[in-house]
């Protein structure tokens, strides 16, 4: 029942995104970025199941994006750049994950933050390689051998983003229902019990961490394709905070939450910036406080409550 409804909602949302994009061209960029962030936030959601907050996942997104920027001149094919970015982020996630999966709570969050800041300042300081804060302009890319114009590249980015979002949402849903996924909830409630059963909590968390890095790498690929310019600000800690923000805004109860949250976040940002150029961040901050105070389950829980009320009303004789 729940699954059928989730699939229906996702299909309707994807169709709505495509229709809106055709009707209002500037929305294409907003939606592409939102979905890329949503994919990354799926990883945050997985880690939140274990009660762990990473304040450094922008590291993997930016790492994926920089791989695309560095590799594009030598290997312009988008369908090769995507696995390259994903693989790079996954390997980095594995190396860092082996270390951070030993830590919990504040220390887990702070270590992720610290490592992402190390990457940020590396990007910023080594000007000769990374062009510092100016960032790197993405070279021309191809898709199945066809050279992409800025217009077709934007469509390619959106198409791949939607495809990846669907695949990852299904994957994460299956994963969370699997014994590995339930192991994550056990880390949150009582890690010792997991260990008593002979299951390594560190390994359960490591698997989730590597998966989240993998998805963030894919998110980074889409961001690079859509913006065609990668800058160190992608890796700054506030960008990581934004990802956790989106997770909470959308709600952690469903794999659709991250996408709902990301689209709401990006649209609020666009409109807040247009209305009140100096204070868009303030508006987003206020939205975050209101959500936490009055709807701690996020937008997804609000939608579900509304749907349930409607069902209740229809069922009445």
């Amino acid at each position: 029942m729940m699954r059928a409804r989730e699939i229906l909602v996702a299909a309707v949302a994807a169709a709505a995104i495509l229709l809106l994009t055709l009707a209002v061209p500037w929305l294409r960029f907003v939606f592409t970025i939102a979905i890329a962030k949503g994919i990354t936030v799926l990883g945050i959601l997985v880690l939140l199941r274990a009660g762990q907050v990473s304040f450094g996942h922008a590291l993997y997104l930016s790492f994926g994006a920089y791989i695309v920027a560095f590799a594009a001149p030598f290997c312009p094919e988008a369908l090769l750049l995507l696995p390259l970015a994903a693989l790079g982020a996954t390997l980095l996630g594995l190396v860092i994950g082996l270390f951070v999966s030993r830590y919990r709570d504040i220390f887990f969050g702070m270590l992720n933050l610290a490592l992402s800041m190390v990457f940020y300042s590396t990007l910023e300081k080594f000007y000769s390689i990374t062009h510092g804060t100016d960032g790197i302009r993405l070279a021309r890319t191809t898709f199945l051998g066809m050279t992409l114009t800025p217009e077709t590249q934007a469509w390619t980015a959106l198409g791949l983003a939607l495809l990846l979002a669907a695949v990852f949402a299904i994957l994460v849903r299956i994963y969370l229902e699997s014994p590995m996924g339930h192991g994550l909830s056990a880390i949150k409630t009582r890690e010792a019990r997991l260990e008593f059963m002979g299951i390594s909590a560190q390994r359960v968390l490591l698997a989730a961490y590597v998966l989240s890095a993998f998805m963030a790498g894919c998110g980074g690929f889409i961001v690079a394709m859509a913006t065609r310019q990668v800058t160190p600000s992608l890796a700054y800690w506030t960008a990581s905070g934004e990802l956790v923000f989106i997770a909470i805004l959308g709600g952690t109860g469903s794999v659709l939450g991250p996408f709902l949250g990301a689209i709401a976040y990006e649209l609020t940002r666009v409109y807040a910036a247009a209305l009140f150029a100096e204070g868009w961040q303030m508006i987003l901050g206020a939205v975050l406080l209101l959500v936490i105070l009055f709807a701690p389950g996020g937008l997804w829980s609000i939608l579900r409550r509304m749907a349930r009320q409607r069902v209740g009303r229809d069922a009445r004789p």
Binding site: L48, G51, V53, F99, R102, Y103, D105, I106, F107, G109, M110, L111, L113, A114, L115, M117, V118, Y120, S121, T122, E124, K125, F126, Y236, W237, T238, G241, V244, F245, I248, E278, G279, W280, Q281, M282, L284, G285, A286, L288, L289, I292, L293, P296
Partner: protein, 309 residues
């Protein structure tokens, strides 16, 4: 030995810079630590208190100067600004955080992130995005020649005496308060076990409120003190908070003296990097933190806590 005679001057400068820098981060980190103790949440908005303290001190100091108040008023401005920021921002934010305390830790952390976003923009709305300079306290005290390994290093008296002096006074006052006064004992009791403290008749809410205000004022004072040494720009709050996170995590949660030593370590490490390997300036604090946590997962001075059910 020849390396030392070549680079002695730089090393001396790095040491002096590191000391004054450590003093400023200690003020922020120790407040963050106190607040974590009573609320069990790492306050991301804490860096904004530092920035707003700096901006307020600069505004107040410039206003005093424009009114023709005597020179010492510039120093009074620093203290007054910190107190105002503490009293204005502390209690309402503490109340908000108390309201969300029954929620999940993630949500509590995100409340402080939301506050950070609001305060960042508020600061930009009030003070704009142009750098603000207020170096009156620095100029008033003038320079002093510090003998170092046979060289004389000219250094400002402000950075040599005032900044570390205030940090040391703060450290001693806090250590004394926590160990010797009734309020301090109650604060420690709330930090260790809130429920048990309440059952002993301690008004934990009031302790939390007062501690939060003190922590806020300390961060604001840190910002006010450093406003004299560096110009104020947007983003300084975001930069400061990650640095004080590094200090707190390296020292171990809930450590006052440990925070001082770690601030010194990180301050000296960073200033040495500025003079000898400028690319590493920003990275050094995090490398120190990661290195320490690799060897001691609870931080340098942290105590391993048994998890309560």
């Amino acid at each position: 030995m020849s390396w030392f005679s070549d680079n002695g001057l730089l090393l001396g400068l790095a040491t002096l810079d590191g000391l004054s820098y450590a003093a400023a981060i200690f003020m922020v980190a120790v407040g963050l630590n106190l607040i974590f103790g009573v609320l069990r949440v790492l306050n991301i908005a804490h860096g904004s208190f530092y920035a707003i303290g700096g901006y307020s001190a600069a505004s107040l100091g410039l206003m005093f100067a424009a009114r023709g108040l005597p020179a010492w008023a510039a120093f009074a401005a620093l203290a007054i600004a910190a107190a105002i920021v503490g009293v204005l921002l502390g209690p309402p934010i503490a109340r908000l955080l108390r309201r969300t305390q029954h929620q999940e830790p993630v949500l509590q952390l995100l409340v402080t992130f939301g506050l950070f976003m609001i305060l960042e923009d508020l600061q930009k709305l009030i003070w704009g995005v142009q750098p603000i300079v207020f170096d009156r306290p620095l100029k008033l005290l003038g320079n002093v020649d510090v003998p170092f390994a046979g060289d004389l290093i000219p250094f400002t008296r402000y950075q040599l005496f005032v900044l570390p002096g205030i940090a040391i006074v703060t450290l001693v006052a806090l250590a004394w308060t926590l160990r010797r006064t009734l309020f301090g004992r109650m604060l420690v009791a709330v930090t260790v076990d809130r429920e048990a403290a309440i059952s002993q008749g301690i008004d934990a809410d009031r302790i939390t409120m007062v501690t939060f205000t003190i922590g806020t004022a300390l961060a604001a004072l840190g910002g006010a003190l450093s406003s004299a040494t560096a110009s104020l720009v947007p983003g300084v709050g975001a930069q400061t908070i990650v640095l004080s996170f590094a200090v707190v995590a390296t020292a171990g949660l809930g450590q006052v003296e440990g925070a001082a030593i770690t601030a010194l370590l990180i301050g000296l490490g960073r200033s040495t990097a500025i003079y000898f390997a400028p690319e590493l300036e920003v990275v050094i604090p995090y490398l120190i933190m990661v290195g320490v946590l690799l060897i001691r997962p609870q931080g340098l001075f942290g105590v391993i806590e048994t998890r309560r059910i």
